[in-house]
Symmetry: C2
């Protein structure tokens, strides 16, 4: 598997006229090698690839990194790459310009004075746009855990309970069910706080009749889940019910319309048009969704301005919302896998309005 | 307060011959402005400082960032700095070379063609070495929460319970008691897993008579706590008790010896000599401690090789350990504030051997 990802990356090197690429971004290294530690460098040449890490990860890298030459060192990884002459016969070498710091770049120049370094962007990210079977299975594991956590939360959601109490339970349950950790800090937002798309959980107590928005996910083997549900604590007002129905229709409509080949902005438009026709377009203040994988937010952005065609094998979120400042918010989010024929929804938590 | 930190930073600018410094590292920006969001840039000139962030943080930055000019923009912060001409009459401008990416550096050069950019390292970090009263109070809040969590854990620690169950409780209790979050993933390591200083919690169940090492901390207002205790589940063997006594003596001896003015390596040596004389020197495989503040690990490193004199106002951990591979581990860690006369221990969880 690692070989086929590397082979796809090498197509990119060839098209850019590069003899080698230095990969230093950890999610990108994990994608190419499965290494999950916190310090590594990967030298991808056209003829071979060499993995470098430090002594703390000697054992772990032996287990995780298969079929590649490994160098384990006590000092700087770039210095080890130089002392092992890993860029021999590589006149043009790419580096990840959005990841390598100025200090690291200066060190590269000093250690490899004869190499012409070229800045690159998104070479590995481009390969990672299309998930393979292993990756989809990992995302499904993460999504399944998060679905299960949602169902466990329902009996806990009642007036008087605080946002932070539910948030702490989410973290606890993710780990209990085998996730490595939360993929991001859980959002638990009751009543008027639901109008803040990125609300941090507070000690505010839930009240009867209000909506609670829960947006949470975990990571498993580095891969993420991301789920949002909005539930009602007791019978909500007709204004709330109407808003919920509008978001639900936009969300299910977008999922039904999603397929590889369509422009990302056209998928955003499906949901946006639906909400706008119902009169709440101004309250849908963010993009429809984002790619999901080893990074919580990755390409493709599913936004009004991204004209990129969606790819078969990309995994994205579909998460329209409406936010009435000072009053309430509704957001519904699922994770879907794009296919040539359409999409397959990976998350399965119920989304008809739940009244607790 | 923000002003006095900025005033101290300006001493550094003057000594480096810089007319301004671009601060882009978020912990450094938080230190100088109290801003806690995820996107900001701070332009520190000798005559004034200007804070930039994006529209997501318009409200939050107004609450957090006092007494500084604020610019809130929709696009790139560096482009906004250019369009507001914030480096006017600043021929020599420093940037944080270990933080700015190559792509960002290239953009700086393009947007400010007449500025001579100079790479800098640790200018803000140098100021942050000495904690002021507010910072010490924040660290004490974090430490107090972690102490309380430790005492709540004791009734839960018994044979049959898993490491991951305790780890999840730590996360839950930190949040319940008002922390923003764990400062790092809690380490809970039973029996032979205690020999791995950075063990991740697993589904392994505790057994009678073994040691459990708990290493955890939270963050409050960005500031960290960091506590390690090793407890026994039932009466431990004489080998375990002896190892515990050796580590405890080394740890309390180092705390008693710590004072501003001594070299960091000399403090490391106090604990190391104590453990070596007791015959376990080879099992103490890491440094004695590290600075703690807005970063979990910051200067000063308290290691065998760091000859820097310790400063009054620095907050450090003192955490000797012994690790018997395949058998057991012991580590005891407290947080102390260095003073000219000695040190003040901030954490107060009991550390006489607890037998549960």
């Amino acid at each position: 598997m690692a070989r086929s990802r590397l082979a796809r990356l090498r197509d990119g090197l060839r098209s850019k006229g590069l003899d080698a690429l230095l990969v230093s971004s950890l999610p990108n290294i994990r994608f190419l090698t499965r290494f999950s530690g916190s310090n590594a460098l990967l030298v991808v040449r056209r003829d071979r690839a060499v993995f470098l890490t430090d002594t703390r990860y000697a054992l772990q890298s032996r287990e995780e990194v298969r079929r590649l030459r490994r160098i384990v060192t006590q000092g700087s990884l770039v210095e080890a790459a130089a002392s092992h002459d890993l860029l021999r016969q590589c006149p043009r070498v790419g580096f990840e310009a959005h990841h390598v710091t100025f200090a690291q770049y200066r060190m590269l120049r000093r250690l490899f004075p004869r190499v012409e370094f070229r800045s690159t962007a998104d070479l590995v990210e481009e390969v990672a746009l299309t998930k393979d079977r292993d990756e989809i299975a990992q995302i499904e594991r993460a999504v399944k855990i998060t679905d299960r956590v949602f169902s466990d939360l329902l009996p806990l959601l009642r007036p008087g309970v605080t946002e932070i109490d539910i948030s702490a339970h989410i973290t606890y349950l993710h780990r209990r069910y085998g996730a490595d950790r939360d993929g991001f800090e859980p959002i638990v937002a009751g009543g008027e706080r639901g109008a803040l798309p990125h609300a941090r959980a507070t000690t505010r107590r839930f009240r009867k009749g209000e909506f609670v928005t829960l947006d949470f996910g975990c990571s498993v083997g580095g891969y993420h889940s991301d789920l949002t549900r909005t539930v009602a604590l007791g019978r909500p007002s007709s204004e709330l019910r109407r808003a919920y129905a509008i978001v639900l229709e936009a969300q299910t409509g977008a999922i039904a319309a999603a397929r590889a080949g369509m422009a990302a902005c056209d998928l955003d438009a499906v949901a946006r048009t639906s909400i706008t026709r119902a009169g709440l377009g101004k309250l849908f203040t963010h993009s429809l969704g984002h790619g999901l994988g080893l990074r919580l937010h990755e390409r493709p952005r599913v936004s009004m301005v991204n004209r990129e065609p969606l790819r078969a094998g990309s995994v994205i979120t579909i998460e329209p919302g409406v936010y009435a400042p000072g009053k309430f918010g509704v957001r519904i989010e699922d994770v879907v896998l794009l296919t040539p024929a359409g999409s397959r929804q990976l998350s399965h938590a119920p989304k008809e309005l739940i009244i607790l």
